[in-house]
């Protein structure tokens, strides 16, 4: 008996690049009792501590109100929802929505987590969602949305233009994985 094999293709992908880097700078200025101002300028460009990075990650994924009170959860989830569209305009810092959305209302991520890779020293937020298509389209843009459950509101977070637009027919799905990376300077 022959089994029908599902074919898996790997299309052209972009070479991976280093992403966001987080660092800190400390400046100092002394004012003497006589009113003289001495600017010492930049005094330190240092690493963010583990504690600082963990605080950043908690802010990205929601956090308990108090480390000793696990009953109060601040319900804020960054990049929890996904939408896609057919727009091809270049990505812009001023984007606040998709150019030509196919889905306007975000689909919740099926997998949503954040973690610290102790080997690479990179913190990652990962959000995976599968979007469905009920008509043929050439999917060329993708957006992720953050959700604040306390206000039942989606906030636009980021728009990406696909390097390789994906042609879909009715009934097809696309699984998008969005990764936000923070690494220490």
């Amino acid at each position: 008996m022959r089994h029908k094999l599902l074919r898996v293709f790997r299309k052209l992908i972009l070479p991976e690049a280093e992403l966001l880097v987080v660092g800190s700078k400390l400046y100092a200025k002394k004012i003497t009792k006589d009113g003289e101002v001495i600017d010492y300028g930049l005094q330190s460009q240092k690493l963010i501590t583990n504690r600082g990075m963990i605080t950043l990650l908690k802010a990205l994924g929601g956090f308990f109100y108090n480390d000793n009170d696990f009953s109060r959860w601040h319900r804020w989830s960054v990049a929890l929802g996904h939408t896609s569209g057919t727009g091809t305009n270049s990505e812009s810092f001023a984007d606040t929505a998709l150019q030509s959305p196919i889905q306007t209302s975000p689909t919740n991520a099926s997998t949503y987590n954040y973690f610290f890779d102790t080997t690479s020293q990179i913190y990652r937020l990962r959000s995976v969602a599968t979007l469905s298509y009920s008509a043929s389209a050439i999917v060329s843009e993708h957006a992720v949305w953050s959700y604040n459950a306390d206000f039942s509101t989606w906030y636009f977070f980021d728009r990406s233009v696909l390097a390789t637009p994906i042609s879909v027919l009715s009934g097809d799905t696309i699984t998008f994985t969005y990764i936000l990376e923070l690494s220490r300077a």
């Binding site: 929505a97 196919i102 306007t104 209302s105 039942s152 989606w154 636009f156």
Partner: protein, 65 residues
Amino acid sequence: MQYVFVIEDSKVKDAYEFHPEVGFMLRKEEWEGVAVEEIEDRLNTQFESVSKIRELGNEIVYEVE
């Protein structure tokens, strides 16, 4: 401003007031359960201008003023 309706079984499952220029989408729970054929009439009672801009899949989107 736009109104986005997610439809399931000919009724509104989710509704959002969408401000695309600022990337802000507020859930409007009072629309949940409303029949599809009632949507436009209800919008007309709340806004001066109502026009359907998209209907694709399980979503209907109106531009309202």
